[in-house]
């Protein structure tokens, strides 16, 4: 049985902001909004790097590929680029990442 990672992140990439939801097994989801700038991406990387367990991300929206490449370049990290038609809200994306195997 595939239990999946402990931490799943959904990111909805918009023109000026990156809306993020973090879903941890057994805990309620948390959300935050980062600026869609170098500092915003680095701050998300800093958050992800602080996680001791594997992380799975689902990204949708503006420049989703660039965001995915910037955040997914690490061991213990899987990234899905998701069509906005499938899920476009950060929590739905985090749930998508949680379900995917």
């Amino acid at each position: 049985m595939n239990m999946g990672p402990d931490l799943c992140i959904g990111i909805s990439s918009k023109n000026e902001v990156l809306e993020l939801a973090a879903l941890e097994r057994g805990r309620s989801a948390v959300t935050a909004t980062f600026p869609a700038t170098g500092i915003g991406l680095e701050a998300i990387k800093v958050f992800l790097a602080g996680s001791a367990s594997p992380v799975r991300l689902a990204v949708a929206g503006v420049a989703a590929l660039s965001v995915a490449l910037a955040l997914g370049n690490s061991l213990q990290r899987e990234v899905f680029i998701v069509s906005a038609a499938t899920a476009d809200q950060p929590l739905a994306l985090a749930q998508y990442a949680m379900r995917s195997s």
């Binding site: 948390v30 701050a43 958050f47």
Partner: protein, 171 residues
């Protein structure tokens, strides 16, 4: 009110701090946390160093957010230090760091930790905010600036045209 305003007090703001590197910076932070919050110096300095070994907490633009989780802490503790001289921090843009925001988080405070990181990123991504922060000369002034966010972004006129503005116009 933003989350940083909730957790940052004027007593945890230090300007003109002289350090020569990350190690010395984390020792100074640890010493402050011991004196001001009765937290264990060694474990704070070690926690910050260990986190930094995983990857730099430099965000670029001279800003870094070193952080660690602390046993038996009941709420987030935030400190802001402006260094007298910028130090190497292995930041993604290669620039040395002079604005340091330290976050100490309770073991299980993912929500607060994420919110504070997001607010810090929003603030420091704003060129106007960074410029006004540099003009502050005492901790109370700094505290007021953090408290006023995000109002500050709307009410403060840019001090100089941003780089992109100049480039667009071929200046």
């Amino acid at each position: 009110m933003n989350t940083i305003a909730n957790y940052l007090s004027a007593e945890d703001i230090s300007l003109g701090v002289h350090v020569t590197g990350k190690h010395e910076l984390f020792e100074i932070v640890g010493r402050h946390m011991e004196l001001a919050h009765a937290l264990p110096l060694k474990s704070i300095a070690l926690g910050l160093s260990r986190r930094e070994q995983i990857g730099s907490t430099g965000l670029g633009q001279g800003v870094a957010i070193p952080h660690t989780r602390v046993e038996h802490l009941d709420r987030m503790v935030v400190a802001y230090l402006r260094l007298k001289s910028a130090i190497r921090f292995d930041a993604p843009d290669g620039r040395p760091v002079s604005d340091v925001m330290v976050l100490l988080a309770p073991k299980r405070a993912a929500e607060e930790h994420l919110e504070v990181l997001a607010d810090a990123a929003q603030m420091f991504a704003d060129e106007c905010f960074r410029a006004h922060l540099q003009e502050c000369t005492d901790p109370l002034e700094v505290k007021r600036l953090f408290d006023a966010w995000p109002m500050t972004a709307a009410i403060m006129a840019p001090r100089k045209p941003p780089e992109a503005f100049l480039l667009q116009r071929g200046i």
